[in-house]
Chain length 522, copies 2
């Protein structure tokens, strides 16, 4: 439509030039590009723009859609347009560049979103157009929020999830592994604080000869994603060439997927999912599988923890999700094996990027100590990958995994990977460490994973790598007023106080049941 408009304009003598000179407003509007124009700007008047209009900005061959903020005369001089950081970045312009400003083109895929909003099924074509427009940044945040909100729960059927997965793969880059017919991957659907098995599993199975080019995401709704944890240990922002090099060199990598655009649409969806604290089944499957497929994987093991306060609450639900993963995988030609695990309490002791990294190092270095749960879970998942690879029994595969870990081969392999990615960093410690004690005596019978994760997030995780907490208790432990439950780690007093306020209002995070004895004494 833009071209037509230009043509028409040229025919119209009284039409005014639509080029404005760029000004850097020095404003960070996060991912939504914002343009600032004078209320009396001739283009605002000519085009009928108003605050929050969606407008099109073009420079050379590139054009983006931005949200308009109208500013007072004093803020900008005539003939100029202010841009936020992300707008400057996406449009590839510098101050004083002359850009073309027009009505945003009608984004036709939005009618498909409306279809879904009203409960109709989306066709592959609908989904492809929606995902293309989202990855081309044509959607506003509220439009993405609307799309996500009507796709969660079980509102996407298997055809739609397959379509979404393929669309996400097609709009991004892809990795290829010439000479390898089988490429492996693992994933945990999350919901369990501290469950940081990936660096362990990747080290174990690649030490065992499997090719596993692992790209991980940052946290979506949790206090830490594998990418956040690995970033506290080494460089995870690798480009495709780096990943190829590291994998060819070591048979594995532990990189951040977001940096290589394997699924650009997914990264945009995840930002809004995080803001809305949504994590829908359909997107979950499409998000996970699209990245595995884009990474060139042919086989993957998926860890589904089940627990009252985990992401998946019942076995029935887990089995449903597992069969969806397997079916969608099959439709997208990737072999999936789902493993349903215990999700009743956190894994390991650390929660938050740095604290989880500490646990990973301890297990790798053979000093698991009170981290047996993390160690065993990593061995279990590695075993499943081995048996998926060579058809051996789980028992034999478990032995093999344990030999590799206990023999120090996994630790050597982890160091090779980390060195190939830029070397091992020293782990910093949080500036403020607050020890919280139990308020009553008895047995710890339940831990609310969600509230505990929220507590770690309020402490600043994952954006502050050292923020989070370290658990000192496990289910079944006997506690009393002098027993520390956890140490809260923060870099600021504001976050510490805010997190503790929240904790004190959530009596339900730790359930402590008095011993029968205590009662009979009375």
């Amino acid at each position: 439509m833009r071209i037509d408009q230009r043509k028409n304009r040229i025919e119209i003598p009284d039409s005014s030039p639509d080029y404005l000179s760029v000004v850097d407003m020095g404003i960070n509007t996060h991912q939504e590009p914002v343009a600032y124009m004078r209320r009396d700007c001739h283009i605002c008047l000519a085009e009928g723009f108003a605050a929050s209009s969606r407008i099109s900005l073009s420079y050379k061959e590139r054009s983006i859609i931005a949200t308009l903020n109208v500013v007072d005369e004093r803020v900008l001089s005539h003939g100029t347009i202010g841009l936020s950081h992300i707008a400057l970045q996406r449009l590839h312009v510098t101050p004083n560049s002359k850009i073309l400003v027009e009505h945003a083109p009608v984004v036709t895929s939005l009618s498909a979103v409306r279809k879904k909003v009203f409960g109709q099924k989306l066709s592959d074509d609908d989904i492809t157009r929606i995902i293309e427009d989202i990855s081309d940044h044509r959607y506003s945040d509220i439009e993405i929020a609307s799309f996500l909100s009507v796709c969660v729960g079980s509102r996407l059927d298997i055809d739609e999830i397959v379509g979404l997965t393929k669309a996400m793969v097609n709009c991004g880059k892809r990795l290829h592994w010439p000479g390898h017919t089988r490429v492996f991957d693992k994933h945990c659907i999350g919901g369990l604080p501290g469950n940081r098995t990936t660096p362990l599993v990747v080290s174990i199975v690649s030490a065992g000869g499997l090719l596993i080019p692992k790209t991980s995401s940052r946290a979506i709704t949790s206090p830490a994603g594998t990418a956040d944890t690995m970033e506290s240990l080494t460089t995870v922002t690798l480009n495709l060439a780096d990943i190829q090099r590291v994998v060819v060199e070591t048979g594995a990598c532990l990189a951040w997927g977001g940096a290589v655009n394997l699924s650009p649409a997914d990264d945009l969806l995840i930002r809004i999912e995080r803001a809305l604290d949504l994590d829908g089944e359909g997107q979950l499957i499409a998000s996970v599988l699209s990245k595995k497929i884009a990474a060139g994987s042919t086989h993957a093991v998926i860890d589904i923890p089940v627990g009252d306060t985990a992401k998946v609450r019942t076995h029935k639900e887990a089995e449903r999700l597992a069969s969806l993963f397997t079916d969608v995988g099959a439709a997208c030609s990737i072999q999936i094996r789902c493993v349903i695990t215990d999700g009743s309490q956190p894994v390991g002791r650390g929660i938050g990027p740095v604290e989880e990294a500490r646990d990973v190092l301890s297990v790798l270095q053979g000093s698991a100590g009170d981290l047996q749960d993390l160690r065993e879970r990593a061995l279990f998942l590695s075993a499943h990958l081995f048996s998926l690879a060579n058809g051996e029994s789980l028992e034999r595969s478990l032995e093999k995994s344990a030999e590799i870990l206990d023999g120090g081969k996994a630790w050597q392999q982890f160091q090779r990977i980390v060195n190939a990615q830029g070397g091992l960093k020293n782990l910093p410690s949080a500036k403020y460490q607050h020890i919280e004690y139990a308020q009553s005596e008895g047995t710890l019978t339940a831990i609310d994973n969600r509230q505990l994760a929220r507590l770690a997030k309020l402490a600043g995780a994952p954006s502050t790598h050292t923020a989070g907490l370290r658990l000192h208790v496990r289910l079944g432990d006997t506690v009393s007023n002098d027993v520390p439950l956890f140490t809260l780690m923060t870099e600021s007093t504001g976050e510490r106080d805010y997190a503790l306020d929240f904790y004190r209002q959530q009596s339900s995070i730790f359930t402590i049941e008095p011993k029968c004895g205590d009662n009979s004494d009375e």
Copy 2:
């Protein structure tokens, strides 16, 4: 939570003052308050704020939630915080006021929104908390978008709609009419361009002795709402006292509901509905009835036009909606009568605030001419109100309505109302008027109401009152290349060209079928 935080802070020696000095950024961010803080601001660092964080701003007893934009050092000096227009307005502050800046409190009703997102039913309490938080501006735009998107279609059951209606009434102001046991109202659910019967019906029935304190909304997804149309004729932004005065004086009013906060939550929802072009059944009913109830109405007639391209497409759908309206009304003690009308083509000839106002005046002044459809529809709806009021037959009530309109009593009454509201304005004409002719010969067999409405909106309606179009044809008319289909009205060439580009791409707005004769000639 804020108070706790303050308390804690006082106990913490190293905590820094959380008061910043206000700067007017001169930026209009529409309805979402935005705060601008330096990247290195001590509060950003202490509290761990980042771009797009939700933060709480407090001044005296008032506090609001705003979205944070982080700015470069050069933009603001230390110790200051920039606010957008709406933030300054809602917080009631002026530059240099010292405001408290903190983490936004956890908005607990969002967990209820998540419940609905995942398909669960909302309790009255859930709905009450959601609506209270929305009307207190605690929701971000994407949060409102998420809530709306999962409530459209038939996703709200009758209990939820009743709960939503009551919640909307309770969070706003209410009008009372002492001495009147019966108060009347009318509403059209829309979807039919030009269907501007309200000013006519209000004049007719109030001239006939019914009390009808009419408050109308602005356009949601249409090119004009009654409030937009009336605003081109007189003052519609009346406060409660003005409305009381006008109604006591004349027995009626034609005011904009948004100005009197009758349903503040609804006004905030409608803004996002408009941006997403959503108009859900549940919100529709709650939105309509909450305003009627808040206006003190006891009886209302609701016009439901049915047509292939109207908001309601089938009779079945209309009957379903009608019974929902009636049942929800009964549960909220307001008597509703729904009238299902023809929605196959626009009503009257004008589309857009000013052009629709012209039609209203013509009918009132007894020169209906080619506006018989508008005239008859107004008489029909007035008759239903009269028969609802006094139980008389529809025939008798139709005669009575016609007498009042044809006898000039309605016009006199309209003038009394308008004078009480501030006097009658002269209608301006659009700066650019483009006549579009038919492209082929034959009979006009269909008009796409939605596309026609979109065309008028692209021309600038409703925000530009003179923008829109004037139809020159009706279904069944014979047209040829020299027959004008419509005149497009715009105030800018940009909008004219954009609208015409759209029209030329939408061959489907007018369906012209060649006469059989034309074919047999070949």
